[in-house]
Assembly symmetry: C2
Homo-oligomer: 136 residues x 2
């Protein structure tokens, strides 16, 4: 496991670092948030990406395609155990002047010897606001 300048002492600290890295398109900071493990990441609409190196490549792609995204984060639910934590988060991402997209993310954190790191990120765009759902 990496020894970083920041050894996040809680899932909330790791999450704050994740969204700071995301909103600043900061590859180095993003690399420090994730566990160097068989982590899993799903971007909106994407297939699952497994493993630290592949996940980092995906963020590099995103950062190279995007301007600095304005992101407002609203934590809907936190579930914590001793070494595992799950946060359900709403990300409101600015996509243009007065244009926003609402994304829901399930973020998973594990506690390692040196602190808490992200091990899973599953995000999906909200497309409907009603309670009437079908299978797709």
């Amino acid at each position: 496991m990496q020894l970083t300048q920041e050894n996040y002492i809680s899932p909330d600290e790791a999450e704050a670092a994740f969204y700071a890295a995301f909103s600043h398109c900061d590859k180095k900071a993003m690399g420090e948030v994730w566990a160097e493990d068989d982590v899993v990441c799903i971007h909106p609409g994407s297939n699952v990406i497994v493993g630290y190196d592949a996940v980092m490549r995906s963020w590099t792609n995103i950062f190279s395609n995007a301007g600095l995204p304005g992101i407002a984060v609203n934590v809907i639910k936190r579930i914590h155990d001793v070494t595992l934590a799950v946060h359900l988060v709403e990300e409101v991402i600015a996509t243009g002047e007065n244009a926003y997209v609402s994304v829901l993310a399930t973020n998973v954190y594990r506690k390692y010897e040196h602190g808490w790191f992200m091990v899973g990120h599953h995000s999906a765009v909200v497309q409907a606001a009603t309670e009437s759902h079908t299978l797709q």
Copy 2:
């Protein structure tokens, strides 16, 4: 917490019950899998649904709109702690003759006094197979 005939002794047992209920459009069985708590559920493209009763209404809607869906399940990743477990699962759902949709789900389970129950389900349709991702 409910006392059911089935008190799932592991996250895997609860998950098997969840997909059995899903594939059979069985409201009663679905109701037994979820914790009677402030659970959270996100169907593909939907906003977050919070609370047992609202989540059950959403499954009732789905079951009333669907025929019996053929679902093949492939567990990609299991992360377990003492009282909390996260499974990343691929659901391949038949949508017609020789037509399928690939859905990725992050399923969250908690251990209560009477066994393991589902407390979170976040599912999203896979729309792209490449590693080139953007923010939406």
